[in-house]
């Protein structure tokens, strides 16, 4: 398998990516992995080995919850959705990320 940047690289980045993906409506684990891959145009690939432990961790923190639903192919699937606390957390993490990336960019762009 080709090497992709691992979203786990920066601690907490994966959580933020998952929260953001779940924020746009109920979605199952497979869907989350696919959407992250599509939107980042294959730059970020979330492996199952990181995705599911992260989902269970976020659920424990009550940032996401789930319901069982029927998927596009007619199978029963676990659909995750953002909770109120999750929405707050996503806002905080997005803000932190903006500050961090702006700072890093600024540093990199100095000549």
């Amino acid at each position: 398998m080709p090497k992709y940047p691992d979203p786990d690289m920066l601690q907490g980045t994966l959580d933020m990516l998952i929260l953001k993906t779940v924020a746009s409506g109920p979605i199952h684990g497979y869907g989350i992995a696919m959407r992250i891959q599509q939107i980042t145009q294959d730059v970020l690939r979330v492996r199952q080995g990181s995705l599911y432990p992260a989902l269970y961790r976020l659920e424990r923190k009550r940032w996401i919850d789930y319901d069982w639903g029927t998927s596009e192919n007619g199978r029963r699937a676990k659909y995750y959705r953002l909770t109120k606390q999750g929405r707050k957390q996503l806002a905080t993490e997005t803000e932190n990320w903006d500050r961090l990336s702006t700072a890093v960019n600024r540093l990199l762009q100095t000549t």
Binding site: H28, Q48, G49, R60, N73, R75
Partner: protein, 206 residues
């Protein structure tokens, strides 16, 4: 009024088994989607399955990581259950008092009867015919001689008393707590010596 546990109660009672089941189903769903993708990409069914399993990685290890990631939930649910129980009891002090009273009486009666049965049946005194043994307290040596010589009531009578002795060992002294007994003490109790002999009758004459 007694309220039945609601959704959270049921969820924590059956929680662990349900979570395992849900975890399995979730992973199987993901795997089936990977297989479908591979089939669409033109792989044979066998190959599609093999590649999907390879890409998915070790399922057992993944499940264990997921369990750990959600681990503290069990503790939290137990705490919620305790809170719920205490709240219910406070809500209904009469019922709580009755429950505690019934439990206390039940446990107390059981403990008492088990204690007696334990002594009588399961752990009799380690002597011959313990049911025929009686103890007479606080009698003098003369009483003892009288009771023994009377011979009407008891088949035999032995005497015992606590005593303290100071023992010298070159230049150290030690206090020993001992029991002085009449020569027939071991015969009365029916205790056999593992080695050596017990006292001869003439050995306890004053």
């Amino acid at each position: 009024m007694i309220r039945l546990p609601g959704r959270t109660g049921i969820r924590s009672l059956w929680g662990r088994r349900l979570r395992e089941y849900e975890m399995d189903e979730e992973m199987m769903f993901h795997l089936s989607r990977l297989i479908e993708d591979n089939l669409e990409a033109g792989m044979s069914p066998a190959e599609a399955r093999r590649v999907a399993l390879r890409d998915f990685g070790g399922i057992c290890q993944l499940k264990e990581e997921c369990r750990q990631a959600s681990g503290f939930r069990f503790i939290r649910e137990t705490r919620q259950d305790l809170h719920y129980a205490v709240r219910q009891l406070l809500h209904n002090p009469g019922f709580a008092f009755l429950t505690i009273l019934v439990l206390a009486l039940g446990i107390g009666a059981n403990t008492a009867s088990v204690g007696v049965i334990d002594q009588l049946i399961f752990r009799p005194l380690p002597v011959l015919e313990p049911e025929r043994l009686v103890s007479i307290s606080q009698s003098s040596y003369l009483d003892y001689v009288d009771i023994r010589n009377d011979g009407q009531v008891f088949s035999d009578v032995a005497a015992t008393d606590f005593a303290g002795y100071e023992v010298w060992d070159s230049d150290h002294s030690r206090n020993l707590s001992v029991r002085s007994v009449s020569a027939n003490f071991f015969d009365v109790l029916g205790i056999k010596m593992a080695a050596g002999r017990s006292f001869y009758p003439e050995e306890d004459r004053l």
